[in-house]
Symmetry: C2
Subunit: 407 residues, 2 copies
């Protein structure tokens, strides 16, 4: 009998009525012949409430170990309630807290990493005909303290559990129907993908298509866990995230993602000598400021050059502040900052074996008069930075250009 | 340096502001030279909310083990927040969940009994200069599952911790200033007792003066833990609950308690033969109906007698229903039920060595024209049942008669 891990997020279990709906759904899965293990998040809104209490009472530099104790209480409520709802409709069930499974993590409180899930007790529960209901997002550190995995950590819990149990599939129930070729709120012709590869999903996840948390996709790829993203409200198949070998007819481009969380900084007239980049980016890295795209123009006079790069929008003020302090040392004439840019990316494993993908992108944008401010590429992705005002225009044009429009 | 366990209930930590107030109070205790271990409840209202969710989703016969998982989440929030509030004002602190201490209980989910608290980890925390903040009300069963101790269980947690650590005192912070000679809302001249014995406190606790949970008093008596009941809002000494030997000038009567949770049932004309009482009270005991006072009148005709007893008011309808079913079998003429009675008790260890205490009671009530419907006594307590309408009159008259009125 196939074993499936099902994970339900906060909106899927936001109140008692929805918890009952989830229980009903689990019962139907069992009646269809599947053995089920569950992973759940806290009720929508609960975690934010708890986090705000922690910040208010503990200040900005609070003890992350105590943060974890407070925040992990949210899942404790939902696993108990879901187990009760299942029992009520005749499905034997039992809750497991992170420390009970146990879900072993490192000691990185607030964003701990899962080291292992001991499968014995959960497996015994399943083999006894019960449905184990595991608290997502939480684990136990080597010191025996409560840890949490950071935002979206329940996805990681679910994939790790599927790997530990050798499950045939990990279903991630969410409030969207699956992974789309682009954001359907902007691109009306976007359609749901039946399948997408781990690599593509990774690029999409890290680019703002917030369907699955990046770490969970990486973990699924590492352990070969087949993941399905699907809606907890509609009873239809979602998108399967699988190995490339499982996808027969591969599109060149699978999707067009975008991220508004970008800000561009240009250092005008930086001395063009070795070590300048290290001088600039070393302190930013030390301050945990993530630098994404970096473009250095060719030096015209052989002495100075312009350097453009992007950071997260919320880091913009802090970054320019740090750079102003270094300006003389860098011999830099001027610092330009622009918080109104967007990063648009075309993603597809098919582009590895196909020339001309970048050309299509540049031509399409040029035809619409959209100026490209920076470019970065990976094996399966091309990202460009443009003026935020052109976001919708660019997404729709590219969606059509790559043949993704729904029939 | 003296070690004191301090327990703060739900109203004392009902919001972030009050949690900060508690933290400040703990800091002052430390500065006054005390070493502190803390026990806290959930925020006022939280537990009720969680219990109602469990009932709504799980129905009346839900799994008590899952009930415990859900309900124990309340203390998890407050221990973390209080630890953070302490750290914020420079007091090193660390939270402990029931399973972390561990607080070992039996497997009686929903009202588990504490078997032992392993003091090693908490003691190490204290010796390292930190304040341990233990979640009250919860523990871990031999099967490794979360348990809760039932209503008022945090008092028991605190006393058990004080016993385990060999603490000099266990301070129970609450929303009253201590134990009073009677209910101050009724008896304006009631005053706070400086000291009261375990035995007296036990009688008061079980008689509706809901300051301390009965089990916690019994546990304190068993282990000789000195308990102080005091207000978390006023900075004044409360009432010390101690062994009789610690009380120098013992009053004959320490307090006058009352309980409105009483209902009287009279079986008129029951056959006066051996085994009748067993026939009546056996089935009630099986149905978990607690029978308190029992009065059997002397048989006038040698064949039938009247039997009066009391049950909790909420059990009245169920009890009379059961008795009606047995009426023929009992040969009973009539069943009278009265839900409008109150039990008034005078309590004092001094009455063991003093004659005339009961006489004072009966005379005082007779002078006010108050009819006594039933009497029961213990070594240190006399309880009488009267018409509920006379509650206030009786309490005030007795308070004066026993010389308890504040100067």
């Amino acid at each position: 009998m196939a074993l499936v891990v099902q994970k339900f997020g906060g909106t899927s279990i936001a109140d008692l009525e929805r918890i009952r709906t989830v229980a009903g759904r689990v019962k139907r899965s069992r009646e269809a012949g599947e053995r089920i293990a569950l992973v759940v998040s806290a009720m929508a809104g609960t975690t934010n409430q708890l986090v705000s209490w922690v910040s208010e009472i503990g200040g900005p530099h609070h003890d992350r170990a105590e943060y974890d104790v407070v925040v992990a209480s949210g899942e404790q409520v939902t696993i108990g309630l879901l187990a009760l709802a299942l029992q009520k409709i005749g499905v034997p069930a039992r809750s497991f807290l992170g420390w009970q499974a146990p879900v072993e993590t490192d000691g990185g409180h607030g964003r701990a990493r899962v080291r292992a899930i001991e499968p014995a007790s959960l497996r015994a529960c399943i083999e006894g005909g019960q449905v184990p209901v595991l608290a997502g997002f939480q684990g136990i550190s080597p010191a025996g303290r409560v840890t949490t995995l950071g935002r979206g950590g329940s996805d990681t819990s679910a994939v790790a559990l599927a790997a530990a149990l050798g499950a045939g599939r990990c279903d991630i129930f969410t409030d969207v129907e699956g992974v789309f070729t682009s954001d359907p709120r902007i691109v009306a012709k976007a359609h749901k993908l039946d399948r997408v590869t781990y690599e593509e999903m990774l690029e999409m996840a890290s680019l703002g298509a917030k369907v699955l948390e990046t770490r969970s996709v990486a973990l699924a790829m590492q352990h070969g866990v087949r993941v399905q993203v699907l809606s907890s409200f509609a009873d239809i198949p979602g998108t399967l995230v699988v190995d490339e070998s499982e996808i027969v007819e591969q599109q060149i481009v699978s999707g067009i993602a975008y991220s508004r969380d970008e800000a561009k900084i240009t250092l005008v007239g930086v001395a063009d000598r070795p070590g300048v980049a290290a001088t600039i980016f070393g302190p930013l890295a030390d301050a945990s400021i993530n630098v994404d795209m970096i473009v250095q123009s060719v030096s015209a006079d052989g002495e100075t050059t312009d350097l453009t790069f992007t950071v997260g929008r919320s880091d913009l003020a802090r970054t320019t502040g740090m750079l102003e302090d270094m300006r003389e040392q860098l011999g830099c004439k001027r610092i330009d900052a622009d918080g109104e840019v967007v990063k648009v990316s075309v993603i597809g494993v098919g582009m590895r074996s196909h020339a001309g993908t970048a050309h299509t992108m540049f031509r399409t944008l040029a035809e619409r008069g959209i100026n490209i401010q920076a470019i970065s590429t990976s094996e399966i992705k091309i990202s460009i930075l443009i003026d935020e005002a052109y976001t919708e225009l660019a997404l729709r044009a590219l969606h059509t250009a790559y043949g993704l429009d729904a029939a």
